[in-house]
């Protein structure tokens, strides 16, 4: 398939092409997801070179294992970001990088954000608004876990709370976020065409 045709494909179709070793499809997926993926890895790792490693490992994992992706179960972009996140937290735990640092807040997106599509800014706003609606303790547990890379037992120790309390907060907070965010997040770079009833 010619590269210029790929822009019209869904993320899921691109993963299918990647599973048959189609390089332009991998490049297209990279172009769609890498900005978010790198931002996430950088937030967790706070180090450019480690963040690059996490993104590279995740995309090469995708390259090798795209055939195991099941589109019915998750969006392709979510799957890729899950790979990036897991790799980043594994790295941060190994590096013992964040242990002494205080919790920080979401950095303002820097270079490149001017070109960021409006839907992405809206997504970010919606998520931040939803996070702000959580009770402080639930928000703290989720942010420290997801952006800080802390395990539940590390959090229990850091916050001086029983492990069961941390687990319950995380579960309650994530359940609430799921309600607040619903299912209509446009979390993908795919440019679908409007629905028409016939070809």
């Amino acid at each position: 398939m010619r590269p210029r045709d790929l822009a019209h494909l869904s993320d899921e179709a691109l993963v299918a092409l990647v599973s048959r070793s189609n390089e332009p499809a991998l490049a297209e997926l990279y172009d769609r997801v890498s900005g978010i993926a790198y931002g996430l890895a950088h937030r967790i790792l706070r180090d450019e070179s480690l963040a690059e490693d996490a993104v590279q490992d995740a995309f090469l994992g995708l390259w090798r294992n795209a055939g195991s992706f099941i589109p019915e179960r998750a969006k392709a972009s979510t799957w890729i970001l899950t790979l990036v996140h897991r790799r980043a937290v594994d790295l941060v735990r190994r590096e013992q990088r964040r242990r002494t640092e205080p919790l920080d807040h979401a950095p303002e997106p820097s270079e490149g954000s001017a070109e960021e599509a409006a839907w992405l800014r809206l997504d970010r706003q919606r998520v931040q608004t939803a996070l702000a609606e959580l009770p402080d303790q639930q928000r703290e547990a989720i942010e420290l876990a997801y952006y800080g890379g802390y395990t539940q037992s590390e959090l229990a120790e850091r916050l001086g709370e029983p492990l069961g309390t941390i687990k319950s907060r995380m579960f309650a907070g994530l359940s609430r976020l799921r309600e607040l965010l619903g299912n209509d997040m446009q979390t993908s770079g795919a440019k679908g065409t409007p629905w028409t009833s016939t070809s």
Partner: protein
């Protein structure tokens, strides 16, 4: 604590390694947790979008593509000697394991392995031919054996209570050839002869014996 409640910690990658392994094992036999995880992963995906942070350096793209290219030359050709193992750095190997862990989650669910294997066989066959649909909504990929998949791009997910149904026209008569619910890869359940036409319609859940709606798109293996 109930193991079901570990779903949140798993979706946030916040379980200790032992718990993570226990939970993944549990997941393979618990439909309730798989469904819950789907919803929680949707949330963690949203959290990823809100992370902010800088853009990657331009050099990263080329480095990843170059590495992918060099690996392809190691692993794809059919005549690859069996004893050659693709070289992975230890770091990359860990990523592969993580990906396989997630793949295991995906593979063990709601969809049988044979079907996944068949799709992979079609998509991975260097002799397969690709035929774009008339509208450009999908590509039909067909192996010389007649096994085929549709790569569907631009349909919305099927509404509640509906499925997309694939039809193969045999001597002008539409025969049922598989169902799917949303864009992605759909395996045809019947072999396709050269020149035969394929159509997709929207039908009641589980499919019907003969198409009732208009063809959403068609493609021909010719």
């Amino acid at each position: 604590m109930d193991i079901h409640e570990l779903t949140a910690g798993y979706a946030l990658d916040a379980l200790d390694p032992g718990e993570r392994a226990d939970y993944e094992e549990h997941l393979s036999s618990c439909e309730r947790c798989r469904e819950e995880l789907q919803g929680f992963w949707h949330v963690s995906g949203a959290l990823a979008h809100a992370a902010g942070g800088p853009m990657p350096p331009a050099s990263l793209r080329e480095r990843i593509l170059e590495q992918a290219r060099s690996e392809r030359s190691n692993v794809v050709p059919l005549r690859r000697p069996r004893f050659v193992v693709p070289a992975l750095s230890s770091v990359a190997a860990v990523a592969a394991v993580a990906a396989i862990g997630l793949g295991l989650w995906a593979n063990s669910l709601s969809r049988d392995l044979d079907r996944v294997e068949s799709e992979r066989a079609v998509l991975g066959d260097p002799n397969a031919r690709t035929f774009p649909s008339v509208s450009g909504k999908a590509d039909l990929v067909v192996r010389p054996s007649g096994e085929a998949v549709l790569i569907v791009r631009t349909l919305p997910p099927a509404p509640e209570g509906k499925d997309y149904e694939i039809w193969i026209f045999e001597d002008g008569v539409p025969r049922r050839a598989g169902l799917f619910e949303q864009p992605g890869v759909a395996l045809l359940t019947r072999r396709l002869e050269p020149g035969q036409k394929v159509a997709v319609t929207l039908e009641a859940d589980g499919g019907v014996d003969a198409p009732t709606g208009a063809a959403l798109f068609t493609a021909s293996a010719a």
